[in-house]
Symmetry: C2
Amino acid sequence: MSEREYHLGDSVPETPDNPDGLAPWTDTRVVGTRHARVDAYERVSGTAQYPHDVFLPDMLYAAILRCPHAHAKVLRVDTSAAEKLPGVRAVITGQTPGVDRPWYERGGRAWSRLFDPHCRHEGEEVAAVAAETPQQAADAAAAVRVEYEILPFVVDDQGALEPEAPAVHDGGNVVGEPAVRERGNLAAGFAEADVVVERTYRTACEIHAPMEPHGSVARWDGPRLTVWDSTQGVFAIQEGVARSLGLPMANVRVIGHYMGGGFGAKLETGKYTVIAALLARMTGRPVKLFLPREDCMRVTGNRPGNTMTVKLGAKRDGTLTAMEYTSLGSNGAYPYSAATSTLAAFLYRCPNLRATDTTVFTHAGKARPMRAPGFPQCAWALEQAMDELAAKLGLDPLKLRLANLADVVQGRDGPIPFTSNHLAACLEDGAAAFGWSEARAAARSEGPVKRGVGLAACFWGYSGGPPSTVIVKLFSDGSANLNMGASDIGTGTKTWAAMIVSEELGVPLPQIQIEHADTATTQYATPSGGSKTVPSDSPAVRAAAVAVKRQLMAMAAEQLEVEESELELGPGEIAHRTDPEKKVALSALEKLGRQGVVVGTGYRNPNPENAITWPFAAQFTEVEVDTRTGEVRLLRFLAAHDSGRVLNRLTFDNQVFGGVAMGVGLAMTEERVLDRNTGKMVNATFHTYKVPTMMDVPLEHTSLPIDRSDDLFTSTGAKGLGEPATIPTAAAIANAVAHAIGVRVTDTPLNPTRLAGMLAKPAEEA
Amino acid sequence: MSEREYHLGDSVPETPDNPDGLAPWTDTRVVGTRHARVDAYERVSGTAQYPHDVFLPDMLYAAILRCPHAHAKVLRVDTSAAEKLPGVRAVITGQTPGVDRPWYERGGRAWSRLFDPHCRHEGEEVAAVAAETPQQAADAAAAVRVEYEILPFVVDDQGALEPEAPAVHDGGNVVGEPAVRERGNLAAGFAEADVVVERTYRTACEIHAPMEPHGSVARWDGPRLTVWDSTQGVFAIQEGVARSLGLPMANVRVIGHYMGGGFGAKLETGKYTVIAALLARMTGRPVKLFLPREDCMRVTGNRPGNTMTVKLGAKRDGTLTAMEYTSLGSNGAYPYSAATSTLAAFLYRCPNLRATDTTVFTHAGKARPMRAPGFPQCAWALEQAMDELAAKLGLDPLKLRLANLADVVQGRDGPIPFTSNHLAACLEDGAAAFGWSEARAAARSEGPVKRGVGLAACFWGYSGGPPSTVIVKLFSDGSANLNMGASDIGTGTKTWAAMIVSEELGVPLPQIQIEHADTATTQYATPSGGSKTVPSDSPAVRAAAVAVKRQLMAMAAEQLEVEESELELGPGEIAHRTDPEKKVALSALEKLGRQGVVVGTGYRNPNPENAITWPFAAQFTEVEVDTRTGEVRLLRFLAAHDSGRVLNRLTFDNQVFGGVAMGVGLAMTEERVLDRNTGKMVNATFHTYKVPTMMDVPLEHTSLPIDRSDDLFTSTGAKGLGEPATIPTAAAIANAVAHAIGVRVTDTPLNPTRLAGMLAKPAEEA
């Protein structure tokens, strides 16, 4: 199961050893099997308490009044009418004593204030209310009277670059310097090429749209604040709230036991959380503040829409000689990044490259990281360009990719090896399982309904994360408690963690209880995002369980008067390897009984130095296009993933399915529409912003794990899966559509309206 | 501050080193100062949530119907009327399916059932009800109809020994074999003696009577039970509830953040907790079950009343030659221990000794450990006998004790040294501070109001406990979180723990937040009882803080590019010892910023082998006795304590004051009265059971710490204080009264009724 492979022997030890110093599993009983989520009953029965379900005695409800303009200055706020409404307990604005404070963005700079009189996009916070009921709060917020000076705005990326464009901040609308990655000699590379393709692609801006809206409940106990937050990472929220309120971090407790989706939008502290805390402090009562769906759509983040131009040069045999890549996108009104070029720079072995990323400010809601930030956009462009190149060269798209795979990362200071890279297996095994060649050859081209197949490949440029700490406690009856700070954002984190404990300690899953995602009572973990949770936390879980196991083995050896090496731990007992007389149940370990519990602490060690760990994927799809209506049906989908070792085969499947569904949204249905005349979002509801439903996802879906442990990476050998599951999906669909009908759809969403329009034009590819 | 002393060099290392391996503090900034409790605001403002304050959505209230007879068999229970009452949701008895189960006592044997049809004392559980309101629950419990067969009973200790006494259990009323401790040759010792005294003493049975009654709130989340319990040790309750319900321990979460007093009565699982859990499971709703005060008085424990005979032989110079000690007491209807002889056996260096403890069953509520179990009773007898001996020898009672102090423990297998023993300092420094000689000489003997002074000494025969584990987390802004499983039973545990963290890490106390007493989220700790909390947990807290400190120092050394040894940690920063340019704030440690937190784990190591650690005390009091009324006023009190290093001088004072107040209760006011005709308790209310009030405690009170770190014991050098604070109090009062009026009061309570009666008889001592 654990095949080892490294590409530059120098920087990777000869004797494979991961930084955790534990031997890789050679055989597993629990890890790798299919296991339903340990909290499945709570999740489906409604007994799981999401932050939205938190109701505290004496709790007030809050609402926020937001600026209705894309760009405006607040001249005057009159709260007098709102204050007189029934049930109202507090109305705050930037003028209220003790409320005004800077608002920090990533990098530590304050780009606005909590209630900023300069509103830079539709939906900026102007006032907030706490009242006895949610309805009273909403009514009172609506009763706050505001006088605005309406200002000119820009909401499109290209327009923001115009010299006369209204500036979002002082210093022009380009965020920082355009980022340029270069290697080799681009001109020489294109001169070498036998064939060149060049085209511009566009992706629409997407909204994260999690099921549970953004929101918090805040309660003060003396000097200490407790926040229940719908978040992907309690420790990040703790830090943001503490900084904003000027509190020691220890005095801010953030709890996030369940949360209803985030996809990157719930990694950072929201103004609503700080507003809830301020209202709670002013009223002396707990305050609940959850945003209406429309506000979530407008202000809690999005995936930037990007305009990307890809120019590829290749030899007749398909060898890439040059790549020029430019990307433009907007982070909205506050700094983030709309860069996309990482995938283009490193997916293929191309010696001559220039990739340029430009991010602009616009008068629109701020972007936030969204599942594989930048990567699905780039895949949409790059992987379509590769197919166009294959067509021009008369090569099978699969073979073109296999011929150009990067076997190292072309770093600025030279090549860096991978700890593992099974992208070739993703492509080859995936193609075999999908029946790529047969399906490609058999594509139906007669009649109005066409059939085609497409594929796309990717890596995800991140693994591991900051150190995380996990504690396992084994009670004297042999049952166990697992303490980890990571949030389970619905992906099954608690389940694989319990499986690892069960693997090491033989404790059945129903006897493992889990504490997680609470800054006060659990240990530090990086936020659950960026496919970091498994690689950051699984080695820490294993190390904690092994720390318990070692103590148990020592206790048993002492009690049985044998050497530890002669013993092995089985379910519920420790037994001699050869002498059946010598064994002891965990619950009969005398020292354990005396000391009550065994506690084991496990850490995630830093990534190996001088090597890179990325997950890889190749996805394949077969589609049917009705050329009369422009409708596309996704007949089947196969997703082949190298995410290292598979911890839970069932949630692996779930995760891939979710990623593909999200990729379908990018490809076919989702688009934030801003009115150019008003700068306002016109489709801020689920009725008008189309998240794919079960009717839109592929009819048949297969996940194919390339289940090879990355033993050089960590002791569990598992890499991330969340992001790669969605990166190549949209591009694979577009390639399949192009294969079916010979039309290359360069812009998302690839919906019947757009396709029908394009089908009027002549086909351009074979 | 840390003077070292050991008595048998062989078994104690030459180079003093405690089992924790950390050098003793030589100088402290925080530890040893006076610090108000960190939770003082919550405690006095009413915002602290005691288990009694837990109100959950949809919660039901429960009540228990109890047997009104001292001994009876339940023949028939009819719940039909109760079930029909408004608001009733469940009525259970031992006949209800799924309810009947054995009830375990210490040692693991089941001596009864949850609802036992054989009721062995007044107040045994017969049925329980859950209803919408506490009133409806009480009404319904009262409406359960029970038919009893009333049986003969015995409620007095001596009576229980009679051959024809009704048996509480099969096998006779003596619990186990009478325990005998012997050394030397008793007859030879008495033959050697120039003087012999002999007298019988009696203490009344006391009730713990904590402010917060006993009770629990139980809630099920799927297969997991959460219990909020008014307890001294959440891990002990977890074990008891899990065993009783047949659940894995991990599936039972016990929380006990605040609790309103226990004194030993809240160390074990109560039937009420299991009943609340069963009712919650049956109704699918949370259930709150708190006992009425009268039930707490009858069934939740007591300090056995004891009858003790002390016979002492001594040379004319005061040297003890022989001691015979016998003790009889009852553990009530279920096994515990009414033994008292430990103090007699080891306080003084007496070569010839026989001490015998007999415990009997009676048809009365079960005894539980109560603050220094057995010791205050023995002190009442032994320390009065010593004073009688001093009078007979014409010696100062102080000098008699100093002449006979034990400098080792006379173990069964030979002498065992102390890690520290400063009883001589307690006596000498205490006497000096109290002005013993002057006051003794100046005692007023004319007129009807007499004045006298008395003293008594003690040790407490327990220190340390099972391993405990503590975690300290330092956040990236330098604030800290302390995670410890120990309960703070009102004694200031959280405060000294935070002080130790502050001592080691320089974090101000308001920036330290504490998680404690939760089996799911905190680490294991022994229950808070037996003066074990400080010795068990303080070294673990220090070790955890030091583990954090070491990581911080390594980070700073790397960042500043200097050796760790050149650095020192001050408040909020780490600085070079000599180069003022080289320093870094904790919040500026780059690695800390990257990894989010530093986590340190600390363990309590086992006690040193072959040495004993006990705390010691001597207490002095001056009293005024009105011989016309028998009224005693406590004018002043001085308590000199060797409890090793003082962690918090303020709570040291509080703890001693509380112990003395409790000793006043034993000496002067408290007595459980059982009606011999019915076997029922006749004073089960605070109106009739007299706990001392502020009007009864000494007018002037001084605590005198013999503040010497026990560096051979643990890295904090602190020994226990809770028990020794109450052990000698009653005896010192009785000795002062005897000194004032020449009458030796052998039985508690020493109240005006008893004293007035005795004053009619002629005086017997000088």
